[in-house]
């Protein structure tokens, strides 16, 4: 099983090839993906891109963590207050 590393708010998180960012983060024990503009926590809910609850920032773009494929070196941060540059 091949693996690689993504970075969540600067912290390295391992992933398996074919895995989504959300899956890798949750396996690493990260369930809260920062805060939404409403003040609620960002987290996976539907897991299939419908609820828009797991939005994160990836390379300058806000996207669903549950659909985004992990790839080696990908830098991710919370939607608000993060810096993925």
């Amino acid at each position: 099983m091949t693996t690689g590393t993504i970075f969540w708010a600067g912290q390295p998180v391992p992933f398996r090839v074919g895995e989504t960012v959300a899956s890798a983060l949750m396996r690493a024990g990260i369930a809260a993906f920062g805060t939404a503009p409403t003040g609620q926590a960002r987290a996976v809910f539907c897991g299939i891109g419908l609820c828009q609850g797991c939005l994160i920032r990836a390379e300058g773009r806000i996207t669903e963590a549950c659909l985004l494929p992990a790839r080696d070196g990908l830098r991710l941060s919370p939607e608000i207050g993060g810096d993925d540059a």
Binding site: M1, T2, R16, V17, G18, E19, T20, S23, M26, R27, G29, A31, A32, F33, A36, T38, G39, Q40, A41, A43, V44, F45, C46, G47, I48, G49, L50, C51, Q52, G53, R61, I62, T63, C66, L67, P69
Partner: protein
Amino acid sequence: MRDTVLVVGAGLAGLSAATELARAGLPVLVVDQAQAVGGAIHRQPLPGVRSIASGAQKRRWAGVMAGVAAQGGRITLALGTRFGGVDHTGAVLLTGAMNRLIRPRALALALGARESVQPRPGWTLPGVETAGSLQTRLKTLAEAPAGRVLLAGSGPLLLALGAELVKLGRPPLAILEAGRPFARPLAALRLPRSYWAEAATYLTRLRLARVPILTGTHLTAIRAEGGALVAEATGGRRLTADHIALHDGIRSNDIGLPDCATLPVVRLGDCREALGARAALADGRAGGAALAARLLGRPEPAPDAELARQRAAQALLAQLYAHDGAARLADLPGDTVICRCEARTVNDLRALGPSPRARQLRLDGRFAMGPCQGRFCGDWVARLAAADNPGPDTPTPGIGAPRWPARPIAVADLLAATDETEGETR
């Protein structure tokens, strides 16, 4: 692309429809947002991971894939590609791996089901997700999450998920089932034999692992406490878990999907009518063959009898699982979030006064106005708003006015899309 039929969704319905369309001689493009085929039910494991699917599930999926393979080059598959919507000219926007604007000959929407989850205090906490969401990870990873898992809500999916957790060596703490599906065994006898076989497998596995299945039990509230999730249930029960998976049935995943005057559009499988896997396979085949006949000017094939059988079976299942859970909406604490997108609460809804209309709910209440377009709150808001004036079976239409695009799309994707519609007539 003008000859190509676009199928959205590479699950049971989408791929069986694609096979029928290709068999009739039509070129087919199948897109799916996931990185692998299978949809929700037959979600495939990651490369190198062993499948946790049952023998029957594996055989069904192998049959679908053999059908696709037999059509060779007539079916093109684009994974990691999302359907953004179709405009009034029949131009379809795809984003992701295949970022294009195309003009297909017809559009078959096979986007499966969405889960229905009843709002409860704490249902927005991290660690609380839908049963389908957790199940997707079990299927792709063949691994259960670390820590205690609690399953709650209503429906056969809870038993399937519980049995999969047992198989992976991590039985759930308990299954809280709001209905009493085992209370009427004689009525249940009328279910098709394949349903019995499936249920028996799940129940045997759950019983051997001594997983408590508490029927007639509602999970009423969740709170975060000491790094864990504390679930309150009826009967004074309190359970502490690390993960909670909720599920209150399935609905068609058809919100915000287009009709287009200039392009034949059909919905297939759960996306058309949420009847589960067996029906999705039959509906995909029949719908694909019917669409091919329509496009080629041939006589339409006879409808598939399997669909009626599955409709009857699902109606019986719904009866067996029937419960009064929705009545609990009226007793929710005022600060309970109903609209997850914009954190709109029961109090926000009540502030609109008695019997608010759909337009008022949206424009004044901002319900169903977030990026999910009311997929998760619409039914509940409609029920709550109708609560002053309840009938024996108050209808619960969605209150949203969903529109293109089906989901938020980055402007960058719009700009980067390769336009393959140029030079084609509008």
